[in-house]
């Protein structure tokens, strides 16, 4: 500080100081509010004689969970019960994201179709399912659709598939001794096929000779699979067909009623949002691109898949990421139809232990982690597609 400057501007009007002061003020307010809320909660717990801590997670759960992808019995710990719930959330999340994306893209493109019927049907689909609450839709799927399937005694039998209001049973893969080798070989084959295809395409562009990249890559892939068959001398997997034993399905893989209702509701609901994003993305690609493709004599489908969609996807990815995050978070409504995902498990644990703050903290952390992971994956995709831009 120099003496002649001290009279110039007081610090509260100095633009170099004001931003710093405001930031300090903000931090202080956050700290005060945070500390107040924390001490308030702690005093409240203290008054009731409840100790804060996560030790309870190692206690025995004593409750059973209907649908589990990992081993779990009532003798396991609360922590294990949480894992079952998290796996179920991830299961419905991944299946929902994949199906919602497919349906969403199809509906989004249909919205711009030249065919009057296709356009109108997709518009009605979007307007109905986007404008009604998700919870209501879940109940409708569950009560009016899934529960109205035939009873298990008079089940519908479509080939190896069984459909009843106990769930839908599908044939499922059973690993054999050679399964691991098969997986390794198919991954190697896939990589080799992709590498060969891009090399051949480059060669074709450079030399102008027709090199048949598609044919060659398929040949390489099939070749590796044949090699795998020669080495393992067994099928990659055996199919486990479901059957009905009494009133339960046996074998195969059963999609439970709660899971079906939840998945249907999530896919239909989220796909409408994705469809609108896709439509917006396509419409944002300048009209000149279509006209240029037409001038080059490209087919409509080629124009869409090679010219329009690659440009639209850049606009589509960021908002679709938000929809994926929404889908994962919306899966918490599954409690209503008895699908045991994360929130369901945490509610049950909360009821047994009364640890409200700890359980809610856990749920927040898990959802946060899932969301961050999804965002990271989507950002990688985004980067990849953004690079195309010049």
């Amino acid at each position: 500080m120099k003496n002649e400057k001290s009279t110039a501007t007081p610090f509260w009007r100095d633009t170099r100081v004001i931003p710093i002061l405001l930031q300090i003020l903000f931090v202080v307010i956050v700290v005060i509010v945070g500390t107040f809320l924390f001490t308030n909660a702690m005093t409240g717990l203290d008054r009731l004689g409840i100790k804060f801590g996560f030790d309870f997670l190692s206690n025995t759960a004593f409750f059973d969970i209907g649908e589990k992808e990992i081993e779990y019995t009532p003798k396991d710990s609360y922590f294990r019960a949480y894992l079952v719930g998290i796996v179920n959330t991830i299961k419905v999340g991944i299946a929902g994201i994949i199906l919602a994306s497919i349906v969403g893209v199809l509906v989004g493109i249909s919205r711009l179709s030249n065919n009057w019927l296709v356009r109108k049907v997709s518009t009605i689909y979007v307007e109905i399912f986007r404008n009604t609450p998700l919870l209501v839709q879940i109940f409708i799927w569950y009560l009016a659709v899934i529960l109205q399937f035939p009873k298990i005694e008079e089940e519908m039998n479509l080939g190896p598939f069984f459909i009843s209001n106990r769930g839908t049973a599908l044939p499922w893969f059973d690993a054999t001794s050679g399964s691991l080798l098969w997986i390794i070989f198919s991954i190697v084959g896939l990589i080799a096929a992709v590498v060969i295809r891009s090399r051949l395409i480059n060669k074709q562009i450079e030399t102008g000779k027709i090199t048949h990249p598609g044919l060659w890559s398929i040949a390489v892939f099939i070749g590796t699979l044949l090699l795998a068959l020669l080495i393992t001398r067994s099928a990659p997997f055996t199919l486990d067909y479901p059957s009905i034993n009494g009133r339960l399905y046996e074998g195969g893989y059963t999609l439970t009623t709660g899971f079906q209702a939840m998945l249907l509701a999530l896919v239909v609901y989220t796909s409408t949002y994705i469809a609108e994003i896709v439509r917006g993305g396509i419409q944002a690609v300048s009209k000149g691109q279509v006209e240029a493709s037409k001038a080059l004599g490209l087919k409509n489908s080629t124009t869409m898949s090679k010219v329009i969609f690659p440009q639209a996807i850049r606009i589509i990815i960021p908002p679709v990421t938000s929809q994926y995050l929404n889908l994962i978070k919306n899966s918490s409504l599954a409690m209503a139809v008895g699908f045991p995902e994360l929130v369901y498990v945490s509610q049950t644990v909360l009821n047994q232990t009364g640890r409200a703050i700890e359980n809610i903290t856990l749920v927040i952390l898990v959802y946060l982690t899932l969301s961050v992971i999804t965002s990271i994956i989507m950002n990688i995709f985004n980067k990849k597609f953004q690079l195309v831009e010049r």
Binding site: G338, Q352, T353
Partner: protein, 345 residues
Amino acid sequence: MKKSILVLLSVFLLASIALVGCSSSEESTESSVLDQIKDRGVLNAGINGELPGFSYLDDGDYVGFDVDFAKAVAAAILGDANAVEYSPLTASERFTALQTGAIDLLSRNTTWTTSRDVDLGLNFGGVTFYDGQGMMVRADSDVNTLTDMNGMIIAVETGTTTELNLADQMAKLGVSYQPQTFDNQEAAIAALEAGSVDAFTTDKSGLVSRLSTMADSDQYKILDDTMSKEPLGPVVAGGDDKMADLTRWVLNALIQAEELGITSENVDSFLSSDDPVIQRLLGTDGNLGEQLEVSSDFAYQAIKQVGNYGEIFERHLGEGTVFNLDRGLNDLYTNGGLLYSPPFR
């Protein structure tokens, strides 16, 4: 320049510490739940709200066994049985509502267990209804006992002791089953009616009550097996003995009144009784009300305005009602039941 920023920063931090200090010191001088109820003039009671016989809406008012107990407590504290604000709560909401002070009294078919009493920071005020867990199946199914239930899907409510008992009992009997858990009974019943699940389990009183509201009630039967002890009782927040004591002694007063033959109709004639036991109960002698920090006639008010235990039971669950429940364990010890009030002295 830098110095002044540092000074300001430290002032802010000091102020924030001081503020936080203030807020936590204010916490300790909080009044008891009982005083809060008196100041407010209303008792906040948590109930089920969807369980006929215990608490449900009838012509816009909540009525039932659990509702009447809340009314008795309100009459004892405030002298007015209708000074109650009801909050219908789901099984998974109920304890948090009590812990946070949103309600003063939980009168909602809640089973008294060790961990709830100790670990949840709650206080149980005795047992208002001795219940046991039962199982409801379709009448045309060939299930007659729990051991016939191998390979069946059983619907159960989230966050209840029934969920735990089911796992315990079936493990004991070696019956393999698949649980399907619902957050509300409506969805569970819909699944049972559609045949998506084979059975529904909850407290027997709950099953009887639920059966009374089902359209085709003759298509279902309740198995004779009782899977557990379910002592249902009123609950208050832990760490506040006054409210717990009062709740417990209101319940005892209702039981004592039945034992002494005091009803809402004849209670006035007992006011002039020479029996010191009756005098102490009705507050014409002694200072029991003062000890509980309510008016001396708290038991009189509860009995006069709501009725004794037997009256409440008969009004909502007994012979004259659709449930037609037998008193069974919920009878006075003199009649072979479990109701026994400690002495008022």
